[in-house]
């Protein structure tokens, strides 16, 4: 009996208490974002009130946001860029990933290595010259500059992810299909691709999230209000000079975070397994 009680105490101190602290650390900022966006300004800036709770929930901040800013445009831009770039990167990634996983050709290994290396290249290493490349292409100050540049970091990721998935699919079935007269591409599309669907969905979704969250390129290439994406528009357009409208800022941050959080909650299993597969395979 005493032994059992000791065990319980041990579990509380050793597992539940630290877990609660970690959860608090991870989630408190979101709680704060949430309650700040549903408070009216008098309550938001009242230092005497209980600041961790909402006395009078209101949608004022959201109403202001929709009335006074181009938030719908920014949300649409984010969605447009993320959707397009994840589709492009996934398609290119499927092609390159399949080639590296299945086909033997001179240079394949070098290309695989190059893919891995580009996966590691941080965007801040080349954003300055890339701005002038984007300008030469006539794309500066347009969301199309993001559509063409985001795949440079998404394709290596998708390719790398999909190589692992393709390799885990047995060769026999596509070889049978090819003996039956299917071409290599036909076998890839009809046999291998359907079996790699979890990997494909994961790469597409993760690419979507990476595009949605990207900041450096979007900040550098785009300056007009109507072309900005959420991640850049909120910190640059909603902070006017030294004036911080925290209610609006938090409401906008919430609107910018919810889409990826929802996407991710639907496919969390894929996320966790894909992420861990990626981490293990390096």
């Amino acid at each position: 009996m005493r032994h059992k009680r000791l065990r319980t105490l041990q579990r509380i101190v050793g597992v539940y208490l630290p877990l609660a602290l970690f959860l608090f650390f991870a989630l408190f900022p979101f709680y704060w974002m949430l309650i700040s966006s549903f408070k009216a300004n008098p309550e938001l800036y009242n230092l005497k009130a209980n600041r961790l709770w909402i006395a009078h929930p209101t949608l004022d901040q959201f109403r202001d946001l929709f009335a006074k800013t181009a938030i719908l445009q920014w949300l649409w831009n984010s969605f447009f860029v993320s959707f397009l770039t994840s589709m492009i990167s996934m398609s290119f990634g499927i092609m390159a990933g399949y080639a590296l996983a299945r086909l033997k050709f001179p240079g394949a290994q070098a290309f695989g290595l190059a893919t891995f290396i580009t996966y590691l290249v941080p965007t801040t290493l080349i954003f300055i010259p890339l701005a002038s490349v984007v300008q030469k292409l006539g794309l500066s100050n347009s969301i199309w500059s993001l559509v063409v540049t985001y795949p440079t970091f998404l394709i290596p990721f998708c390719t790398w992810m999909l190589i692992a998935y393709f390799k885990s699919i047995p060769r026999d079935m596509e070889e049978c299909a090819m003996i039956d007269g299917c071409t290599r591409i036909g076998a890839m599309i009809r046999i291998v691709l359907p079996m790699a669907i979890p990997g494909v969905i994961f790469s597409a979704m993760f690419s979507f999230t990476l595009s949605w969250n990207e900041f450096v390129y979007a900040l550098t290439f785009i300056s007009s209000t109507t072309q900005k994406t959420m991640s850049v528009a909120v910190p640059t357009e909603l902070i006017r000079g030294d004036a911080y409208f925290w209610g609006e800022l938090m409401a906008a941050s919430l609107l910018g975070s919810v889409p990826v959080a929802v996407l991710y909650s639907f496919f969390m299993e894929y996320f966790v397994s894909g992420l861990t597969a990626g981490a293990l395979k390096g």
Partner: protein, 305 residues
Amino acid sequence: MAAIAHAERLPARSWVARFTKSEALTGYGLISPAVFLMLVLLAYPFVLAVWISLTDRVLGEPGKFIGIGNYLKLLQDPLFRQTVWNSFVYTISTVFLKMFLGVILALILNQEIPCRNLIRGAILLPWIVPTSLSVLTWLWMFDSLFSVVNYILLGLGLIAKKIPWLGDPFWAMVSVIIVNTWRGLPFFAVSFLAGLMTIPKELYEAAETDGARAFRQFWYITLPLLQPVIAVVVLFSTIWTFADFQIVYILTHGGPINATQIFATMAYDVALVAGRIGEGSGISLFLFPALLIVIFLMLRYLRRE
């Protein structure tokens, strides 16, 4: 009619068939879109970065070749020296914190706990949402007048007076380190968790029968078997933290008095705010040696595996 159509289609088909049956051609065909994009938008900008950093280019003027002038100037610039120092402090402390806390969190998440999947999902949240937006929340939480962090710490009696989170050089560095750890910890923890799940249970059972206590089990079984995952995750994080931009840009903008200025934020300020593009490119390229070291270690490590 049908025969003609057939005859017309045949050569085309055999050409396609021959093309698609040759592995090398198919391979090149499949990788060419990716290669094209990488060459134009990654390799070429990189070469361009090196070239620009060797010129005195400013915004609106092409500039002329000045050799390694920018680099010499930077190495003598006290602000740049401080940036180098800050970048190392920022990277080393956050990577260490994420690794240390990540192992602990992974061990906890590997236990039998209620609502395990929900909790794992919640833990990952800081890593999933747009960093620029979550960092805005931290900016609000560290506000000099309304800081809720101070409100909580004062309320709990943990501090006697307000901490000037972003207003003081020391605390500003602490703040960016906290936020980076917050953002990156989930990636570490979940990767380590994946590593933990691959360790066979029998090893622990054997250790148990041999009388090894929890700590010894951790030291002699868990840690050595987790080491490959730790190494890969740490290397990934090192290069990304070294090149980090948005947390510092939004939280402190490199201030106060450049106390949190790191490579990427200084490069941005010099190249795009002050317009000295040549010098800014040079600052960015200081990330390149770090990248090379990480690539080298990573390849050596993965090859050994």
